[in-house]
Amino acid sequence: MILYPFIIEVFQILLVLAVAPAFAGWVKALKCWSQGRTSPGLFQPYRDIIKLFSKDVVLAENASWIFRFTPYLVFGVSVLAGGIVPMLSVDLPLAATADVIALVALFAIARFFTALAGMDIGTAFGGMGSSREMTIASLAEPAMLMAIFTVSLASKSTSLSQMVQVIYSGQSVLRPSVAFALLAFILIALAETGRIPVDNPATHLELTMIHEAMILEYSGRHLALIEWAGMMKLFLFVMLGIAVFAPWGIAASGDLTAIPAAVLFMILKLAIVGAGLVLIETGLAKMRLFRLTEFLGSAFLLATLGMLSYFILE
């Protein structure tokens, strides 16, 4: 009995590794269809990663160990985070490793090293990407914390499995504070994962790229790790949103029999969220960098409204 949570944990980490590229492929395919283009198919990200792994690495002459260490670290952080967010079951052995605040900080350390790697080669692009990425991150952080604060008011906890349990048990259906927090979270997640309107993952245009500018010099297996970790990050933010705001279908205990149903629910929800993401991305244009203060400011405002409505209405 005591072994089941560990099995689920290992299964979940493998699932994150395996499904994250498919989700990225799903978003890309939907986007192509909605824009009247032919899609490369659901499995294109897998083919990309495999191709990159088999290629040689081309490294700039003055790249230091930081440049070579960063892909491994970013990958490691994403995998560890994949074991922490409750996706299939609430009862995860790794869930107590980090609460939401520590989880956000885990992604922050990946970003810190990516930004350093961007400055390591000494090109103008790398520095530009690092500077912009860190600026956006610092504006997103207060909004993120406010959203966490609002949700934790309802669940009296920042531990993810506890938050999921409270919402799951139906103690807080249709709370206005949670609704505001969800809106804020969507805006923040778009910024954190570098999607339109904050950043365009498909662009390599000098003046508009942010995340791509930092990793421009990567190639071969290093690039494969970074791309894979990026897909996992998108996947994990989606799963984090699902876990905190719509956890229905998740296994409430460490019981293996509930897992197949949980997997089915997860795939269904992922498909829906992917469609929503494509609607946002095709409906909006990328914002100017200095308009982002308004974008993230409104995220902060929404989260604050959520907190106020908790104290006033609930």
Partner: protein
């Protein structure tokens, strides 16, 4: 019993004074002096760590009355867990810095005599230790002044530079304005303790025993907070800090930023929690607000700097702010009789005190090594040092990660605890505080993220990329003693981050002494691996699992990917077909912070000028562009300039009394005597 913590502390101070005397006597043999004196300070600091650690670990309180001082005003000393904790913090960093100094100070040999540096270094350490040990107002103030004066001379060490003299002058003024406020605060408390007839109220014991009326207690608290805030560099009393810390020798900057500021934190905690004891919630709110303003403004000003040591100095303002946030929250919780939450907030603040000492000391030592190697403080010139100074770069990076509050290093743990304290504020029975305190949490999050941006800039511009300046100096790695000093503090940062439960277990006696509750029983409730403040359903963080987990995945991924041999080809960077790519085209410190400067520009006084030099006398044919940027502290213009102007105006008016004629002065004396006779008969 001879082996009491107090006796060890005495012996340590004796060693420090002996080292100072040795430096005075053997002035001739400079090299010998560096070796002997810094070895002695190393041993003395280690002894202090032992004394402090012992007192905290076992919860011992030793009290001693020295037969010294003025008649009827003997020196009282006391080593309780609170002073033991600060002794440990100060001792540990001065231990690392003393090892570092063995190598660093040798850099001055042949340029100037280091005797004065050694003497004042020893006195400075002794002063800080005595401040923490003092148990009466008189001895406290004497030690405080020893510390201030010694650090003044240390800032003045390279006195041929005008910036050093200016900074030292500003520092000594602010230090003394602060000291007057502290003196008055003790005066109020001592007077209320025994009435204004006797002197016996000057001991801290007498103040502890007294219940102060609220009005007088508030006066004493505000005076003490003002005085200590001036020493700690709380905004708006911070202006001396970014001037004085960068110009001092780097080992001294490490001590000043790392631990001297902490004596002010000690003072605030001692006066509020111990001497006064009972206070209303809004005292805590004052501390919290000043803490928040210092944290946010400190990091924003730091982002705008391109002098490495100045940047670090502004970060001290930020971190003092974070410590005060913890203490302010603890005061608010205490005033509402919530000892467990108060213990959590206080632990967060004091833990951050320890952490800041470690990583700020480490960063200043690293900056010193860079300065030593390149003779350059301006980051705009630097770059690519990671290839020449791999050890220093690695240690500096650890400092950067720690100060940016990133797991699994120590800065994260204390900020995480502070966040937890914030998140528990909804249980306060005051709607106003419930609504306003979360804003503080958001500001703290902003601070943390901006600090990360600032240290990507600091590390990226200094150590990564290519050298940016016109003349590339002959850079060399720091000597082995300097490396050991940095390595030990880097390891401490990691250990405190990975095993915070052990440290919190050790320091828990403090929160019991001050607010009457322990968090260790709950903090380590589900095992030493998980840090769980209050309850594990509430929140949990496991440093060991995060560290080991990430490292394990990194190693596995590395091994799997290197099973198949794949070549790494080293090539020149791709220049997009533009052949003349130069090193000046890299992002530098100013360009890195440009987006943030634009967003938060209203908080600075910025003067930006672009001047175009044209060919043929027309703008259409530009030849050169001159870009000039000047960013200044807003507070200087808002607050200090009016005060300085006003004091000059007053002194000019008062100066009219001075006629330079003897009969006018005789009339003054005559009038004075008449007035005294009439009123004070």
């Amino acid at each position: 019993m001879i082996f009491l913590p107090m006796n060890i502390a005495f012996f340590s101070i004796f060693l420090l004074l002996l080292a100072a005397a040795l430096a005075f006597l053997f002035n001739r043999n400079q090299k010998f002096l560096i070796g002997v004196c810094f070895s002695m300070t190393t041993i003395a600091s280690l002894l202090m760590v032992a004394a402090g650690g012992w007192a905290v670990g076992k919860g011992i309180t030793n009290q001693v009355i020295l037969p010294m001082g003025l008649p009827d005003l003997l020196f009282h000393l006391r080593l309780d867990p609170l002073s033991g904790f600060f002794l440990t913090v100060i001792g540990l960093l001065s231990f690392f810095v003393s090892i570092y100094s063995l190598g660093y100070v040798k850099g001055f040999l042949g340029h100037r005599s280091v005797t004065s540096l050694i003497i004042f270094y020893c006195l400075f350490l002794a002063g800080m230790f005595m401040v923490v040990l003092a148990d009466d107002a008189l001895f406290f103030l004497i030690s405080w002044e020893v510390m201030a004066a010694a650090s003044y001379f240390l800032v003045m060490f390279e006195d041929e530079k005008i910036e050093n003299r200016r900074a030292a002058f500003l520092y000594i003024i602010v230090a003394h304005v602060g000291a007057i406020a502290i003196l008055l605060s003790f005066g109020v408390m001592a007077g209320l303790a025994t009435g204004f007839q006797g002197f016996s109220g000057y001991t801290f014991d007498a103040m502890r025993a007294t219940n102060f009326p609220l009005g007088w207690a508030t006066a004493a608290f505000l005076l003490a907070f003002f005085g200590f805030a001036a020493k700690a560099g709380v905004i708006p009393l911070h202006v001396w800090l970014p001037e004085a810390h960068p110009v001092a020798p780097s080992n001294v900057s490490a001590l000043m930023s790392g631990v001297m500021l902490k004596t002010a934190i000690y003072g605030i905690v001692r006066v509020t929690f111990d001497l006064i004891g009972v206070f209303p919630w809004w005292w805590g709110a004052i501390v919290l607000i000043f803490g928040l303003v210092s944290a946010v403004m400190g990091v924003l000003y730091a982002l705008m700097q391109h002098d490495l040591k100045r940047l670090l100095a502004y970060h001290s303002v930020e971190n003092i702010g974070i410590i005060l946030i913890g203490i302010g929250l603890a005061m608010i919780f205490t005033s509402y009789q919530m000892p467990l939450l108060a213990a959590l907030a206080l632990t967060a603040g004091l833990f951050h005190t320890m952490n800041h000492a470690m990583f700020k000391g480490l960063l200043f030592m690293g900056a010193g090594a860079v300065l030593h190697a390149t003779r350059e403080r301006n980051m705009e010139e630097m770059g690519g040092l990671i290839h020449k100074m791999p050890w220093t770069a690695a240690f500096f990076l650890i400092g950067c990660i720690s100060i940016s509050a990133l797991p699994p290093f120590n800065g994260f743990v204390s900020e995480w605890l502070t966040f937890q304290a914030f998140l528990l504020s909804p249980s306060l029975p005051s709607p106003l505080l419930n609504l306003l305190i979360p804003m503080g949490a958001a500001l703290l999050a902003l601070t943390g993220a901006l600090a990360a941006a600032c240290f990507v800039k600091a590390f990226g511009v200094t150590f990564l990329g290519h050298w940016r300046g016109p003349h590339k100096p002959d850079v060399h790695e720091a000597g082995w003693t300097m490396r050991i000093g940095m390595m030990l503090s880097a390891l401490t940062c990691l250990a405190l981050g990975v095993l915070p439960t052990v440290f919190i277990d050790w320091m828990d006696v403090l929160s019991e002494q001050l607010v009457g509750a322990k968090i260790a029983t709950s903090a380590t409730g589900i095992g030493w691996m998980w840090l769980t403040p209050i309850a594990h359903e509430r929140a949990a963080y496991s440093g060991p699992i995060v560290f080991a987990g990430i490292m394990a995945i990194v190693v596995i991924a590395y091994i799997l990917l290197h099973a198949r041999p794949a070549a790494i080809k080293r090539v020149p960077i791709w220049d997009c077909g533009f052949e003349k790519i130069t090193q000046r085209m890299q992002y530098n410190a100013t360009s890195f912070s440009m987006p943030i400067r634009r967003i938060f520009g209203f908080l600075f006084s910025i003067k930006e000028q672009v001047r175009l030099v044209s060919q043929y006398g027309h703008r259409a044919f530009p030849k050169k562009l001159h870009y000039h940027l000047r960013i200044r502290d807003l507070f200087w213009g808002w607050l200090y300039k009016p005060v300085v102007d006003a004091s000059f105006w007053i002194s000019r008016k008062v100066g009219r009394l001075q006629q330079g004629k003897i009969h006018v002065y005789l009339i003054y004396s005559f009038v004075t005597i008449i007035v005294l006779l009439v009123f004070l008969r």
